[in-house]
């Protein structure tokens, strides 16, 4: 019985949210829906941890949906990489549980709260599905499930501009998803299979055809749109700026990371790094775009006038770090990229949580409104500051660890100029985080506005959990780095 339970673990991260989402709709009760969300996200987090432990000490797990053997049926396949991403996504979802309660109560009409939780669960289901599936087409389906529900989530934002932001995201996201679908279709035409492991085996035989090259190009572009890689990032700043706070935090922490996972999975597992980087100047192009993203995103963040928008632009820049690591095509680079997926997820989650808590009290998110808020909201402000330092890459924070590995990988690959770009972008982060910190701590609060009070404990708890995880990762990253390294090593073909 226990063995059967463990054998069923891979299916649960997808099924539990999928079952819970309609349950929320049926319950139609904010608190019950919230409880459902919390329970499921926690359960899924636990399961993901179990899976990670299982694959880290053992071998990849294959789970056949419907009992059909993999090449024919849909396979769920867990290896170290996606178990790691599962932990990240479900962990963020679980931490946001307490946060959503107050945040949703403040930003959404009560009678629609259940819808919010249903959509969050659907998004979670989609993101986890993308991560865990071993079938390329199935990946597309989960991608669309998560995308559609996140469009709807963004449209729930308080300002009417949220609608346009959601629409723009829908247009870009659909183009991205369709590109991915085209790429997958081309591979399918050439190989007759959709199973990713199977694809990896069959592609070399037809690798030299234009169709496969085109497939690679379409998939990379599609994933890049979902990833918001410069210059395909246009949807992200508006989307994150106008979404409800909890949604911004959730999507910023998870959605782009999962898109990065898709990019890594296709480049390294399906096509193989040798082919992907050998056939087209893919590494060079990605590195160039990554640098452009780091610099442009940081610059835009410096000139942003709204804190959520600032954070969103910073995400554009941080995605550049991840892609840069991917583009290096070395185990060290990939290690850095995967590490930064986790670390940036935790950091951005914390920052958006803090921004949401500020918004919760101030009802505004423009920078000017933050003046002097630290006095009334010391815990929120301190959380923002701590996470901001991590974003900059100050030692003893998670951000430092990933930056360390990225720079080491760049030096190892003798890419000094790229390292310089990373450093410049980090310094730009000092400026935009510094702006917010100075406003919070050193500006006097306006006299005409009643002094706000500290955010609710539940919101603070979630925010500080992320901040502490952040610091914990910064101080003791060895186990995480071990896991990431073994994931990167198996992807790049080296021994674990």
């Amino acid at each position: 019985m226990i063995a059967h339970f463990f054998a069923q673990l891979p299916a649960l991260p997808v099924i539990l949210p999928l079952l819970a989402a309609p349950l929320c709709v049926l319950l139609r009760h904010a608190t019950l829906a919230w409880l459902t969300y919390c329970t499921v996200s926690l359960a899924v987090f636990g399961i993901s941890l179990l899976l990670l432990v299982q694959v880290h000490v053992g071998i990849p797990i294959s789970y056949a949906m419907g009992g059909w053997a993999p090449p024919v049926g849909i396979e769920l396949r867990v290896d170290t990489l996606n178990a790691f991403v599962l932990v990240l996504v479900s962990g963020i979802a679980a931490v946001l549980g307490p946060y959503t309660r107050a945040s949703v109560a403040a930003e959404l009409p009560a009678e629609r709260a259940y819808l919010f939780y249903a959509l969050m669960l659907l998004t979670l289901c989609g993101l986890l599905g993308i991560t865990i599936t071993g079938d390329a087409f199935n990946l597309f389906v989960f991608l669309e499930i998560s995308s559609l529900s996140s469009y709807a989530l963004i449209a729930l934002g308080t300002k009417r501009r949220a609608l346009l932001a959601a629409f723009q995201y829908l247009v870009m996201g659909t183009i991205g998803g369709t590109f991915l679908l085209i790429g997958i279709g081309l591979l399918y035409i050439m190989t007759g299979t959709l199973n990713m492991a199977d694809l990896a085996e069959r592609l070399p035989a037809v690798a030299d055809t234009r169709t496969v090259e085109a497939g690679l190009a379409f998939i990379v572009v599609g994933a890049s749109i979902k990833l918001a890689l410069f210059p395909l990032h246009a949807w992200l700043p508006d989307g994150y700026a106008y979404a409800p706070s909890a949604v911004s935090a959730f999507l910023a922490a998870t959605a782009t990371k999962v898109a990065a996972y898709v990019l890594i999975r296709f480049i390294y597992t399906v096509f193989g790094a040798t082919y992907a980087f050998g056939q087209l100047p893919l590494g060079e192009i990605l590195a160039l775009l990554a640098v452009a993203a780091m610099l442009y995103g940081s610059l835009a963040a410096i000139f942003a006038s709204d804190v959520k928008r600032l954070l969103a632009w910073s995400s554009v820049a941080q995605i550049g770090y991840i892609v840069l690591g991917v583009a290096l095509a070395t185990p060290a680079g990939l290690t850095a990229a995967i590490l930064h997926m986790l670390n940036h997820g935790v950091i951005k989650g914390a920052l958006f949580c803090a921004a949401g808590a500020l918004f919760w009290r101030l009802h505004r998110s423009d920078l000017a409104s933050l003046a002097g808020a630290a006095r009334a909201m010391p815990w929120t402000s301190a959380a923002f500051l701590a996470a901001g330092l991590s974003l900059i890459g100050v030692p003893a924070t998670a951000g430092f660890i990933s930056k360390w590995y990225l720079l080491a990988a760049l030096f190892e690959a003798q890419q000094g100029w790229l390292a310089a770009a990373v450093l410049i972008s980090s310094l730009m982060a000092v400026i935009y985080i510094g702006r917010v910190a100075e406003l919070l701590y050193l500006r006097p609060a306006p006299d005409n506005v009643p002094a706000p009070t500290e955010a609710p404990t539940a919101m603070l708890a979630a925010t500080w959990t992320l901040v502490l995880v952040n610091i914990g990762l910064g101080l003791y990253s060895t186990p995480v780095v071990d896991v990431v390294r073994s994931a990167a090593a198996s992807l790049t073909g080296g021994g674990a």
Binding site: P395, L442, D482
Partner: protein
Amino acid sequence: MTIALPWLMALPAAGALGVMALGRWPNLRDGLSVVTALLLFAAACSWLGPVLDGARPAVTLIPILPGLSLSLALEPLGLLFALVASGLWIVTAIYAIGYMRGNDEHNQTRFFACFALALAAAMGIALAGNLLTLFLFYEMLTLSTYPLVAHKGNDDARAGGRTYLGVLLTTSIGLLLPAIILTWVVAGTLDFTPGGILQGHIAPAAAAGLFALYLFGTGKAALMPFHRWLPAAMVAPTPVSALLHAVAVVKAGVFAVLKITVYVFGIDFAAAGDFTTPMMWVAAFTILAASVVALTRDNLKARLAYSTIGQLAYIVLGATLANGMAIAGGATHIVMHAFGKITLFFCAGAIYTAVHRTRVSELDGLGRVMPFTMGAFLVASLSIIGLPPLGGAWSKWALMVGAADAGQLLMIAVLAISSLLNIVYLLDIPARAFFRPGTDLPAGRQEAPLACVVPLCVTAAGSVVLFFVGGHILQLLAPVTGS
């Protein structure tokens, strides 16, 4: 009996927490500051004997990364810095209580908490067992002192704070961090190891580049052109200036330079590879240029700030000369300059508190009004100039010998010329105070509060005492310098 190394950091950190907790009871809070400082100094002193006897305690705290831990290790150089920082914290704490209360400053709790935090960071730097640990606490020091620099919160203070943070973080993230990571990539370790870790892993030409990255990256050492933050930080209250110039910040910078030279590159490798010469010229240029600029400054704190820049470059020069005597001279100068400069800043603060004057040209005749203050000023100036029987004589002498050992006779000339410039811009001030007639001065004596005057007298006396213990300092450093 010795105190475990982590406690040396935990003590001021706990002090910071205590200060925050006691924010509502100012007397308790300020008392805690002083007590913590005393305890810390005592703890540091407990290690003096064992280290002199050759003990080299080391502790590994957490493996931050695989193969890279947060680790502490005590050696003579670090102990010296720890002793200076913790010792001067005592007087600075007392002085700060007087100053902050005397000037009725706001946000005193935040001030004292950050002060204690800065000391914790300084202890971390002193005890760092590897470059990663050093970098961690170096950044912590920058961040914990930023609120102190921008303490006043007005536009000037914020602008000063921005420059402070901007220069220090730009150099550390932009230059020091890549230098460390390069070292890691090249050498595979970051541990401070006697004899260095780079020899055999890197060509001398590349080493010259790396060395430059380290020295410029250590922005706290204020080598030109990365010195702007120090004058900009003048906006801070005087106790902060003391902290910056004497207790922790700049000293952490030059300490890091010495430590990196000795334990990362290794004196032998540096001497043999001859890759330090370019940076030696940068240091020499900084010495002279800073002295000239100091001459032109009428604002007392600005003049002292440029003086500090020049004096720090002495220490860097010692590192770049890359021989035992020069290193010893540089290390000794950390102590000597600390005592001298803290006295000078205490005096500047006392003058501001007592008669609200900030410009050199306004100090005429002040000697009669503030005899203790100006007397201390004179003593400290003479020490920094390097005249016996004051502590500064030891370090100047050692540096000159080091320059001669290295065959850099031009550097002896640089040291000589800069001493003359020191005389001109430093002695100018007590000379005015004692020998020129003052205007609009109070009739009788009007010293600053006792909490201000006593510390500055103590540190001035310290400068004298140091002349007599200078030999012991060199003895403590002997295992490092190999002489």
